[in-house]
């Protein structure tokens, strides 16, 4: 049925997808999130409330790997607010790949002792982000894992959320300035380095979400000195 709307823009497309999903019976938080109207696309960057999120996973495959932890932090009035942050370990991860655990500095005890079920964490994320714009560095992982969860447990094809992607913004910027988008290293730490943002030695989902938030502020400051950029433009860049 989506073919009927081929001519519509991404904005309307997302609005329709959200309306479609709401026809199913969904957990309260999911319904609450999807029933919020999308933020006006002409809203300027300064006035946008962001929720910057990062998942630590055991791998890239949403059907065979697990989410180990989630972290998020809010940006309000262009200030990253560490008072508004969350970090959860996920308790129903099947097994932690030894290498991933080392990279992420997570040991199984942490998860057993402090973890919460994946569904609960996702519901918290959807609740906290219900009236905010989600930001992520490289949306593929976060989006795929959430969509996998939606298909498996909610009976909907995907979670139609609006994602702003700092990795895509970086690619967009490189392409626009005539740079080579293929050879450029666009991993978070590499991009941060190009903006002279501090190198963090420690990593967890929360630190990386703070790191992504700092990157977004830097990207916009450099591209739009007056910060005069609309949500619609940011969303276009993120595709």
């Amino acid at each position: 049925m989506f073919s009927l709307f081929k001519k519509t823009n991404r904005w309307d497309e997302l609005t329709i997808k959200r309306a479609e999903c709401l026809k199913s019976t969904l957990p309260y938080e999911v319904e609450l999130n999807l029933s919020q109207p999308l933020v006006d696309k002409n809203t300027l960057f300064k006035a946008l409330p962001f929720l910057v999120v990062d998942f630590e996973t055991t791998g890239f495959e949403s059907n065979s790997n697990d989410i180990i932890s989630m972290g998020w932090v809010e940006i309000v009035n262009m200030q990253i607010d560490l008072e508004r942050k969350q970090h959860f370990y996920i308790s129903n991860s099947q097994q932690i790949n030894h290498e991933t655990a080392v990279i992420n500095q997570i040991v199984p005890q942490m998860i057993q002792n402090n973890g919460i079920p994946l569904e609960e964490a996702i519901n918290k994320l959807l609740n906290d982000s219900k009236d905010k714009i989600l930001v992520v560095h490289g949306k593929v992982i976060e989006k795929n894992f959430l969509d996998f969860h939606a298909q498996k447990f909610l009976g909907i094809p995907e979670l139609p959320l609006m994602w702003i992607d700092t990795m895509k913004i970086e690619e967009w910027k490189t392409a626009k300035t005539g740079g080579n988008t293929i050879s450029q290293d666009n991993r978070l730490s590499a991009v941060r380095k190009r903006y002279n943002l501090p190198q963090y030695t420690a990593h967890n989902a929360l630190i990386d979400s703070v790191g992504t938030a700092e990157l977004l502020l830097a990207q916009i400051a450099h591209m739009y000195r007056d910060r005069h950029v609309t949500l619609e433009t940011l969303y276009e860049m993120s595709q």
Binding site: G71, M78, Q79, I80, D81, L82, E83, K85, H87, M110, Y195, N196, L197, P198, Y200, T201, A202, N204, L206, I207, V210, A213, E214, L217, A218, A221, H222, R225
Partner: protein, 614 residues
């Protein structure tokens, strides 16, 4: 939430003064309230409109510049620097913040600072809006932790009340038995229940055994009569200075004529051996310039030990001045032994930092001789010879010759009182450059040998003239020529005219500004005090300086002096020659922050004083 969730941020601010002083749990709470902003180069943060918008700022990366409302540069700050304290007080003018590089700023909200201040009063001082309080707390935690520093304890807290005594008509043998039976090395001698003397083991060896004296003689024949005493309320510091100046190791503690106890050198510094007193003893016993010079490396070791023990700078300079006095006095004695008795009355006057009891390891010699008006031409020749021996001797002992030749060995500075009176008259009437220089040297004087009256005569005669407004306005012009810099930025010294210097002359652009202004204030108050701290206190007492200013200036002064000594000891440890020229590489964010505060206090005071005396 015991586990650090944002370890990168927590560990960063844990290294930033004053947050570095907070316990880990509080640090986690503080971290969790931080806001982060990004400024592109050239962007400006407007002054906060309400108290709610107040923050302490930490520069995570990049650099910022502060400009006052009139556009003048207030300061530049780099990575790890903290600013915004003054935004919490309404008294200070607001300023504009501009990023001069792409900058990531951490913002600690005002409510967090208020929380620390109200819930953890023990850390409140470090977060106060007043720079002088911040310097004080930095001083306290860095240089004078009272728990490990016993100098400010009272004598009664450290002395034992147990002492042994005999009567002055008891025999020497009886006295020795009392000492043996009580395992005492010092004995109080009384007559009619009044203190008349003390006897030490050393006295028994030197005055009894070596002299083969009859031990049945009364002890009064071998005791030291009219010994120095100390009040139980006096500080350990005062007791130490008294022992040093008099080269003694035992002080009876006396209150209202009653002996309460006996303070020995060993009791004074159980943890902190004060080698200075032993050095002074050696100096007093040296019979030649070479022997004196052999002891002098000990002076540098004492200096290092005092700095390492975090002894406050004013105490260190007092000790170094006392050592310098002893060397100087000993050299005069050596010269007199060699040249024959002095032909007429004289006084040996020291000037400059030595006179102010602010001697440091780089102090050179500044001296003069005031002769009796009866001195003949031949007498003058005698004293020039004496001065020659002393000057050369001091040089041999590491006290360099004064480059301005302000030394008694110069004919001009070895003159009868009448000539000195004529000098002063001329200098005060024609305060041209050279006269002012001469005056500023000889306005700080102290007699360390001979007739003290000559100096007093000079000082009293010119007190009125020196305190006149016209004269002071001339002096002030000179004293405001050097201005304290704004701070340290990117390893350079940032000055008011926005030029950068490669090294910081902490003496010229900091300490000396205070010393010069204190002298002017003291003249204005007609105070006889010579030491800078004493002068400032006297000026405050005379009502010419309010308590707040006094506190500000003393804080800045003590910080700079302590900082200079720490730097010099670090240089010595690295095998370099210590100096007052500080390489900005030496400054961490802690030093940058506090030295900036100190300079700001000095500059405010200097500009105020300029208006006041001009």
């Amino acid at each position: 939430m015991s586990e650090a969730l944002i370890p990168n941020i927590e560990s960063f601010i844990a290294n930033i003064d004053p947050f570095s002083r907070l316990p880990e749990a509080l640090l986690q709470k503080v971290s969790a309230t931080i806001k982060i902003v990004y400024l592109a180069k050239g962007e400006v943060i407007p002054p906060p409109s309400s108290e709610q918008d107040n923050y302490l700022f930490i520069v995570k990366t990049g650099a910022i510049e502060q400009r006052c409302v009139d556009g003048s540069l207030r300061g530049r700050l780099e990575e790890d620097d903290v600013f915004g304290f003054s935004l919490f007080s309404n008294s200070e003018a607001r300023y504009q913040i501009e990023a001069i590089d792409n900058t990531l700023l951490y913002l600690v909200p005002a409510k967090t600072i208020y929380y620390i201040q109200s819930q953890y009063p023990e850390y409140a001082q470090h977060f106060t809006a007043k720079p002088e309080d911040r310097i004080d707390s930095a001083l306290e935690s860095t240089w004078s932790d009272s728990s490990q520093n016993s100098f400010f304890n009272r004598v009664e807290q450290v002395a034992s009340e147990q002492f042994v005594q005999v009567n002055s008509d008891d025999s020497i043998a009886q006295a020795a038995k009392v000492m043996r039976d009580n395992d005492a090395s010092c004995l109080i001698v009384k007559a009619n229940n009044q203190l008349v003397g003390i006897v030490t083991c050393t006295d028994l060896i030197g005055r009894v055994i070596a002299e083969e004296k009859n031990t049945q003689s009364p002890v009064s024949e071998v005791m030291s009569t009219l010994p120095c005493t100390i009040s139980p309320k006096a500080s350990v510091f005062d007791a130490a200075i008294c022992m040093m100046e008099n080269n003694i190791q035992n002080l009876p503690i006396v209150e209202q004529g009653k002996v309460l106890g006996l303070l020995s050198l060993n009791q004074l510094f159980q943890n902190q051996r004060i080698e200075a007193i032993y050095l002074i003893n050696k100096i007093k016993k040296s019979t030649s310039e070479n022997k004196l010079a052999e002891h002098m490396p000990e002076r540098d070791r004492i200096f290092q030990a005092l700095v390492n023990d975090k002894v406050p700078a004013d105490l260190i300079t007092t000790i170094l001045s006392t050592i310098m006095d002893a060397v100087n006095q000993r050299l005069i004695d050596i010269a007199i032994d060699r040249l024959g008795p002095v032909p007429c009355e004289f006084s040996w006057v020291v000037s400059g930092s030595h006179a102010r009891k602010e001697a440091h390891i780089l102090s050179d010699q500044d001296s003069a001789i005031i002769l009796s008006n009866e001195a003949t031409t031949k007498d003058k020749v005698y004293f020039r010879h004496l001065a020659m021996v002393v000057t050369k001797g001091l040089d041999l002992c590491g006290y360099e010759l004064c480059p301005g030749k302000f030394m008694a060995v110069t004919a001009k500075w070895c003159q009868p009182l009448s000539v000195w009176q004529a000098y002063f008259k001329k200098w005060i009437r024609n305060p041209e450059y050279e006269c002012l220089l001469n005056l500023s040297v000889f306005l700080d004087t102290r007699v360390i040998y001979g007739n003290n009256q000559y100096r007093t005569t000079l000082v009293n005669e010119f007190k009125e003239m020196l305190s006149s407004r016209i004269f002071l306005s001339k002096l002030i012009r000179d004293a405001v020529e050097n201005r304290a810099p704004l701070g340290i930025f990117h390893n350079l010294v940032l000055s008011k005219n926005e030029h950068n210097e490669k090294t910081l002359n902490i003496k010229r652009y900091g300490i000396n500004i205070i010393v010069d202004l204190a002298r002017i204030y003291a003249l204005s108050a007609k105070s006889d005090a010579c030491n800078t701290t004493d002068r400032l206190m006297a000026v405050n007492k005379a009502g010419l300086m309010d308590d707040a200013t006094l506190k500000n200036i003393l804080s800045a002064y003590n910080f700079l002096k302590n900082f200079r000594f720490s730097y010099q000891v670090d240089m010595i440890n690295k095998g370099e020659v210590p100096s007052s020229q500080i390489n900005p590489d030496y400054f961490g964010s802690f030093e940058r922050k506090h030295i900036k505060d100190a300079f700001r206090l000095i500059d405010d005071w200097q500009q105020y004083t300029k208006m006041r005396f001009s």
